[in-house]
Symmetry: C2
Subunit: 524 residues, 2 copies
């Protein structure tokens, strides 16, 4: 490892640092203790007054230092309580590796990061095995408070994380013990499970986490299979419904450092939104309804081969063009596809402003099913699996509620701080929703405000990206801590304004058409 790579690492201040050490050996004239000698050599390099060594590492570090003839590389964790010396190696490791983890309710995603170069060396993901105990967060919380439910949920997620770490390490020819840090970005409940903390009050008014900003711990505390002294750094949350994954998103988007006001939107079952700039930050979260996630509309599905992801309306022919993932025959509709589809149906006047099918326009594509009226998007003969892909009125109603909730959340938030949508410089859209959604169609539905398209910027898995920054930059770790103090959180569950706005937003694009000048208005 070249000297300048060390310097780079010191400059970025990763969560774990390597420091090259060459100490003079002990003698009768210099009887400094082995560990004291190592600390004394490191303190000026760290520019610190105090360097602590956890009890469990004392003997290993001192003996490794002596065995290496007082020359080699020290491994130092960078904590807010000061640096912590945890290991000594005779030779620099092939890679100083850390893992960034997005701890999702349904899915876990992780990257292996070279803490010196900042490079991502491997990626892995897997479903959250906790699903057997409950598909959603709420049912898992109920499971957790029974008998040893919490312990089970905790164990299962630790096993998942160990599995991911083993995958990642294996991919680049490392051992689990070579993984020296783990940063974790997840929603508040998942973090409680991960840390084995009682989630009882998370879902009970006034919705209080046991802890929002847990202190870093070590891998051994959680029985993680990576290096026992690896720091586990968990991104702080702001409340029960505003987790570290969002804080990660703020880090990744740079919202908190920008001069202009921007917004970050993360949509799953909940919509979580942050608005602000380097001066102030306001956040809220609200149930957006599951319609946007797929999986609830009967034909909805996660993005995968055969999922309809884009739908366009040909004004001339009046036909719908469906584009599927990997161009496979259609088997369902994913979240972004549903928004496209409904926008197209509105522009084609197949649905009206209230989100109801117009039989005079839909013609024989409207069929009656056991669950009510439905629209045939792709007839059986063109669909994969031999069944037609349909959109039921029930699904449409759910989407209307979701889009109304979404817009109301955004307007309530903006209104709370007295800015207008026009004042918003950027709207960062996180996650799968951000990656796949076409803002144009979401605007047509009145789900997102009618702003120039370039205002919207997808930011991918910003939860994972934020976690990577935590591994790499001390400034990101410090920002995190400052961030959570700065955020004003608005509880929408009890917000009157939100309820009023919700009613007005249940039309396409809105009861107040002036709010959406770019969207055609049909007065029927």
């Amino acid at each position: 490892m070249a000297v300048n790579r060390y310097l780079e690492a010191i400059f970025m201040k990763p969560l774990v640092q390597l420091l090259a050490v060459e100490a003079s050996p002990p003698s009768l004239q210099d009887n400094t203790g082995d560990l004291d000698r190592l600390k004394k050599t490191l303190l000026p390099l760290l520019e610190q007054e105090v360097l602590s060594v956890p009890y469990a590492r004392t003997m290993t570090v001192a003996e490794s230092f002596r065995r290496a003839d007082f020359k080699g590389v020290a491994v130092v964790n960078d904590l807010v309580t000061g640096p912590e010396l945890v290991d000594f190696l005779a030779e620099p490791p092939k890679v100083l590796a850390g893992v960034a983890l997005d701890l999702g309710t349904t899915h876990l995603e992780a990257t292996l990061v070279d803490l010196v170069s900042g490079e991502i060396l491997a990626r892995a993901n897997r479903p959250n095995s906790q699903i057997v105990f409950g598909a959603d967060i709420l049912s898992r919380i109920h499971f957790a408070v029974k008998d040893d439910g919490l312990e089970q949920l905790h164990r299962v997620v630790i096993e998942d994380v160990n599995w991911l770490c083993e995958e990642l390490a294996g991919d680049v020819g490392l051992e689990l013990l070579d993984l020296r840090a783990l940063s974790v970005s997840g929603n508040t409940t998942m973090v409680h499970f991960f840390l084995n903390l009682n989630p009882y009050h998370l879902c009970r008014e006034p919705y209080i986490p046991l802890v929002n900003a847990p202190d870093p711990c070590r891998a051994t505390d959680l029985s993680l299979a990576i290096h026992p002294a690896a720091v586990v750094w968990v991104l702080p949350s702001v409340g029960s419904y505003f987790g570290g994954d969002l804080i990660s998103g703020i880090l990744a988007s740079g919202l908190d450092e920008a001069e202009h006001t921007s917004m970050l939107i993360d949509v799953g079952t909940n919509a979580e939104v942050v608005l602000g700039n380097r001066e102030w930050l306001v956040a809220c979260a609200g149930a957006a309804g599951p319609a946007l996630e797929g999986g609830v509309a009967r034909m909805g599905m996660r993005a995968g081969p055969g999922a309809i992801e884009h739908v366009s309306f040909d004004e001339k022919s009046g036909a719908l063009h469906c584009q599927t993932i990997e161009n496979e025959p259609a088997v369902g509709i994913c979240g972004s596809g549903i928004i496209d589809l409904v926008a197209a149906l509105y522009l084609g006047r197949i649905i009206d402003r209230r989100g109801k099918f117009r039989p005079e326009a839909a013609g024989d594509r409207l069929i009656e099913t056991s669950e009510g009226t439905a629209f045939v998007v792709v007839p059986a003969e063109h669909a994969g699996g031999g069944k037609p892909v349909t959109l039921g009125q029930i699904d449409l109603d759910a989407l209307m509620r979701s889009k109304a909730a979404m817009y109301s959340i955004l307007t309530t938030l903006v209104n709370q701080v007295g800015v207008g949508f026009a004042d918003i410089h950027r709207i960062f859209v996180a996650g799968a929703f951000g990656r796949h959604i076409a803002p144009r169609q979401a605007i047509t539905l009145g789900m997102l405000p009618d702003l120039p398209i370039e205002t919207y910027q997808p930011v991918g898995n910003s939860s994972l990206d934020g976690a990577r920054r935590i591994l790499l930059e001390r400034s990101a770790r410090n920002r995190c801590r400052q961030l959570v103090k700065k955020i004003t959180y608005i509880e929408l569950n009890v917000n009157q304004e939100f309820m009023l706005r919700f009613s007005g937003a249940k039309f396409i694009p809105h009861t107040d058409h002036n709010l959406f000048p770019s969207v055609p208005f049909f007065d029927d």
Copy 2:
């Protein structure tokens, strides 16, 4: 517990603090997490930016805080890395208790200290159970490096400490879990055993400890039976032969804070000496020989009933007057008694300047034994146990070597820094030696320099007293850390000057009689 007692505790900054907390309960308008709420309330009281919570305490602290309705007393450890929140109690405890421990090679002594008032509430002591593995430090080090020797030595001393803690707690009606801190003052090897650290290099040139200044750990790390989050604060050592017990002594004597130069002497098998003032400190340790400890001279014994502790010589009658502990019939001679006795024998001219018996003066009190010539101090008919109490020429020779070593150590040290004995304001004499020895007699023998008697000041068990200060005063903890950096340690094992001085000191009082103007000189 009155408010002013809290204030006093805050002022002294004990190792563990209680802080009264009354937080506003959570609400929809204030969704701060439970633990975050507690920290937020404590930080201004602590005047700190960061307050950490060890992972293992996270759930307990948060849940106790909520159960107590967000009102009660927080337990905070005061560490150099910052405050550490470890518990929350609905009611202040009867006593906030800590234990100060003097971890001796042969004996363990402990006090239970009220961390708020500073009072000593109980005392306990017991022999060091490690004795079955080796009577002295060296044999235990050899035992430690075989198989699981270290583990055995460690376990036994932990059991001893647990036993003492149980005694202390029981004495004042507390539980073991009520003991919230432990400060440990011991020689370097005992500290290695206590912390389960490899002592291999302690007794091998160049005599290097694995660590001189270990970081504080928690009781749970060492399987101590006191409160698992209790801080264990071990006094730092300066080298293999200059341990934390001496640093304790410096703290207790105030040597490091005085304007005038003073000296601290601690005598056991080794003599450990520190010289200095608030500007500088120099230390050394040397084998003084076991003669002064008792137990080696065949008639020597530890101070106990029937031990001769003082001997005076009646110039008129030429008779020796022996005073025993508790005035029991004499059964042996303790350390201070031997010095008195030999001084009396010299003044009575029964021994000459070289420390040899003068048959012409001793008369029939000189007898021949299987181990050579011996002097009958108390004839069989007046002694306890029916055997005469004797002092053999061999014992006398050992004492002569010890006293010569002692004086040489002192002169070498003083000479190294270029001061004279006359520049020394105070000589603190620690431990049993300090408590029992009559400086006048030690001067007569030429063991201690010929200074005004008031220069000498016994300081009792300063090792234990220093440990108590560690529990009570942050300033003492900081002094400790500064102290060890400031001390220049001189290795006497390889010191030429020491060897030369040793020869000159093997006479009573010295070859150079001018050094001891107050001592009668007999030229034969």
